[in-house]
Amino acid sequence: MSGPDDARDEAREDAGPVAPRGIFDPDLLSACISCGFCLPACPTYSLTQDERSSPRGRISLMRALEEGRLDEDDPTLVEQASFCLGCRACEPVCPAGVQYGALFEQWRDHQWRGRRAPVRARALRAATTVTPAITAAGVLRGAARRTGPADVDKVHLMLGCAERALFPGVSRAVVELLPGAVDVPSGQGCCGALHGHNGDSAEGVRLATALGDRMPGTVLVTAGGCATHLAHVLGRDRVRELSEVHVERWDAAPDAAPALGEVRAGGRRARVGLQDSCHLRNGRGVVRQPRDLVARVADYVELPSAGRCCGSAGTYAMLRPEDSRAVLDVHLDEIEAADLDHLVVVNVVCQRQLVEGLRRRRSRTTVLHLAELLAVALRAGCGPPA
């Protein structure tokens, strides 16, 4: 039998270590075997059919960066680090268990270090570090009233930096749903998810830790992206997302569950769809719970793309509005085709994205946070148990 010929040797790559630059965790980077099973799950690959904008392609780019074949100024690296939504849809479908989300944060930490980050990303990172400004916005907009220092016997509701300013009704709805069980500690800042996903994961960890210190015990979070980031820093057992909390509580003690009525529209049970939060679904594995809750109070309609990113993706809609809308369009088409009364969201940026998208299309469908939908059902029922 003949041995390997010259061309084979030429095509073979040196698998040995090649003076890594230390940008990435080597174990995470070596986990990908380039099988390509991630391609169909990736929203940006769906837009382009071009492997540069696929998870496998991006990991090839990360490897070239790590091994020094490309530097951070390479235009393809710059573009792809920004074009990726960071939705992590490639993770649950990856049989090799590649932790793309972690690799992506390490990539952005390097690629967007200091002044290399897009100006808008730097501005957002800076703005959300100022706790008094966030607090003032929440007060002005009428988010749930703060209750002073954390009460050790209660679950602490995290107000979120964007949510309390954009959708103050969400935190009020949570307080209505869980009377006496939650408090709203004052002095809450940003959880740092924004920093973690935008090239400053050290600040992301610092802010999450500070928030955890302010709220010792269990933290209740209404935004999937924040919940996943916070849990990554504080530990999963300390951080509960809204839908998880409700399903657990109501399943554990059905008698103590409030009497929920029906959400109705046009004289019938409302048709309600859902937009998953990517990090909640792909990072935390919460899929069943929000569907379960919607189905308790309305006719649940599973949209074909319910589990795919809506294009809001943290700061993405602000940094890359055109691409963000291209990703969103598929969802808007499906929502209109399904003729929904309400679309339920479980994350603040998705809420903003879909509210604006449906408004542009003058759609009849209204967007509600899951807490808001449940609060409507609560009012339609007999109210909380005695």
Partner: protein
Amino acid sequence: MTPVTRTGLDPVALDTLRGIVGERYVLTSDGDVEVYSRDATPLFRGRPDAVVLPASTAEVSAVLTLATRLGIPVTPRGAGSNLAAATIPEHGGIVLVLTRMNKVLEVSGAELLAVVQAGATTAALSDAAAAQGLLYAPDPGSRTVSTVAGNVAMCAGGLRGLKYGVTRNYVLGLEVVLPTGEVIRTGGRLWKDVAGYDLTRLLTGSEGTLAVITEVTVGLLPLPAASGTGVAYFDHLADAGRAVAQIIADGVLPATLEFLDNRCINAVEDFAGLGLDRAAGALLLFGDDGAADVVARSLERMGTTCAAIGARGVTTARDVAESEALLTARRCSLPALARLAPVTMLEDATVPRPRLAEMVDRIDAIAARHDVVCATFGHAGDGNLHPTIVFDPADGDVRERAEAAFADVFAAAMELGGTITGEHGVGAAKRPYLRARLGDDQLALLRRLKTAFDPAGILNPGKLGS
């Protein structure tokens, strides 16, 4: 034939390419070409000078005409999910990516066929067929990713090979562009058509060395009314091999007979969490489709045979969802094994079915002799094995040991009347072993065929027929 050497592309040629497909579909920067330097084969990389993404057959033709005129190597590529380094541009030049041409053009229930563009995924074809109550039978493990033309170029196999055959059994006709630019149609919409040499069959499995496939017409079958899947656990993989031989000897020809060894069971279980028996030495996945009563009887007979061979447990899937979960998990065996170590090198040796248990024992002995960790899974019903060596490249001379082990595996397979590759193809990865399989005279014929199609030697140079 004069081998094409890597020369880089001159600016005029690049401008011409941009004129053909549009500025944004010619990629040349370092970062751009990096992404298209690999496929799913570990340890192979080749840097192209340009990546071109055409949108039509006419564009493909114009690109190839230019490439032949200027002697530019062209490596066609679909999703890049092949496992033989067949899409690695070893001599640089152009990587021609067909993923933009991805439409399912037609599904005809009356004619039992479908027509798709080159870059449609296998899953898209299969879904479109299923929507009309039809079955596209070939189902390679990478079906959600792989393109139909890529399947044809590599003659992809899959989990249903035993009863339904592989890609070649379903290709009715092709539209291809010859390296010299002519667009021809081979075969067509007919199940019977013997006018001329069977170029459709020749092009199927030609690994992008003879022509670029731009459109594929495939045959479909009526969707079976029912399907079912069962699982049997054994203490040893060779026992599962014996069960397979006995099942066939009993006169059952099931749709699926797949096996996994203990390492594969655990890797797949880590990913899919199906509740598989992690302690078992081997798992045999058996399945059939057809009329409901036939499927039930067939599953029962296979289960009984497994028990008689000494299975430590036999279960059947409760419903279609559970069945599909098992098959999906099996398709993920290879990437799931990547959890064990940074590099997973897999092979594709195939032996006559009655020699399966013997081959399994030989693989075990070879792995032990070369001191490598080998996990084996495969299409047991087809005698098609995927021994996979997992290693950390930092571990001394392990890569050399792995390669030596595979050389022994190929030799053993051929000794038992088998082949070096059942369904993954030769590509660059198995080229060194092709002579041993085909012999000098046949290799020389391959070269003459290649020259007849590709006088300038531009198409996937260095692979089959070079």
